[in-house]
């Protein structure tokens, strides 16, 4: 993939994440902080699919943005064909792993595994 496309995705995910994280924070402000972290409250959030979907999108946006940022830092730190390939594929793998792990929580709640 061309670097300009990657960077457009990088900037796009940042802007989208700002908007969605703002919505997420506003939703949290509707109840007390301690109350929002109670077990039943967290489970209820995950079971409410529109909100769970938004959390999933935030997870994807931040994973893409964060791991691409890490890739850029690592590419500037050291150079070399093998190293750069390892960094790029490593970051994609880590991104997929993190998204899968985060999604697992929502899937578990909604399939009654809790």
């Amino acid at each position: 993939m061309r670097e300009s496309i990657i960077m457009k995705i990088h900037y796009g995910t940042a802007l989208a994440a700002i908007a969605l994280v703002a919505v997420h924070i506003l939703m949290r402000l509707t109840q007390g902080f301690a109350e929002s972290l109670e077990y039943d409250s967290v489970i209820a959030n995950y079971k409410f699919l529109p909100y769970a979907g938004m959390l999933e999108i935030i997870l994807i946006l931040l994973s893409i943005h964060g791991f691409n940022g890490l890739r850029v830092i690592l590419l500037e730190l050291k150079q070399g064909q093998r190293y750069e390939k390892a960094v790029s594929y490593g970051c994609v793998a880590a991104m997929i792993t993190l998204i899968a792990y985060g999604s697992r929580t929502i899937i578990m709640v909604n399939t009654g595994m809790t």
């Binding site: 061309r2 960077m7 150079q79």
Partner: protein, 255 residues
């Protein structure tokens, strides 16, 4: 290796007859047999108009002819005498001692360039990246195939790129760039500014070709807009602005 010879110890005459003098610290390093950089100190008299290059040449003439320094035009046109003067990349021929407001002047080779010896550095990477961005007008219709003698341009079209054509390839911008310090494959502000110079030229038809070249994992996107390249340019070129304008083309804000 610090030495402090004075002019009084020398039998030769000097063109400077001022009562003012400074301590000139010159970095000495030969990669073939030195492991670390050392400094030699010289007391040099100066006049209001004396440049750092003239002071270095004074050292070469009267104290130590082995000091390696590259220079040519002495009028900020050839871009040969770039070096770090009191911590900042500058042209030695364009920097007056009197304007530095310091009794001690330290000269070192430019950062981000391999050192040949003392103050002389290798320009291979700068010229390679400059060449890579195709620094010439790309057109299919040249005067060889048609009867065209000139490509007309309006003053407004000229204004788009004219400051970038003042680049003398001295390498000060690359020396000041923080990304160049860690990323050995980075194209650098000099080449990117020149890429903009040709992309913004209304006579040029090689925009897509050039944008493809700099759209690389070590290309234009690695600039963090520190802006130090623009601060040190002795010719008033603003590479940081050129890079941002070039990004505008890549993001679709400009065409």
């Amino acid at each position: 290796m610090a030495q402090t010879p004075t002019l009084a110890e020398e039998s030769g005459s000097t063109p400077f007859s001022s009562s003012q003098s400074i301590t000139l610290r010159i970095a000495r390093y030969n990669p073939q047999h030195d492991s670390v950089k050392s400094f030699m100190e010289f007391q040099i008299p100066y006049e209001k108009w004396t440049t750092v290059l003239e002071a270095i040449l004074e050292v070469k003439k009267h104290f130590d002819h082995s000091v390696a320094v590259r220079y040519s035009c002495r009028q900020a046109t050839c871009g040969s005498c770039g070096m770090i003067i009191n911590g900042k990349p500058r042209l030695a021929c364009f920097t007056k001692i009197s304007e530095l407001n310091s009794n001690v002047i330290t000269v070192e080779p430019m950062n981000n360039f391999p050192i040949i010896r003392d103050l002389a550095v290798k320009f291979d990477r700068l010229f390679d990246t400059h060449h890579k961005i195709k620094p010439y007008l790309i057109r299919n219709d040249t005067e060889i195939t048609t009867n065209t003698k000139e490509f007309l341009q309006s003053p407004e079209e000229l204004e788009q790129y004219i400051q970038f054509s003042n680049c003398i390839k001295c390498g000060l911008c690359n020396s000041a760039c923080p990304t160049m310090a860690t990323d050995s494959s980075f194209v650098g502000p000099q080449a990117l500014a020149q890429a903009y110079r040709y992309v913004a030229d209304s006579r040029d038809k090689g925009k897509d070709n050039r944008l493809k070249i700099i759209d690389d994992s070590h290309g234009i996107w690695r600039c963090h807009f520190a802006g130090s390249c623009s601060q040190v340019c002795p010719k008033g070129v603003d590479p940081a602005m050129g890079i941002q304008l070039l990004r505008g083309y890549m993001l679709g804000f400009r065409s």
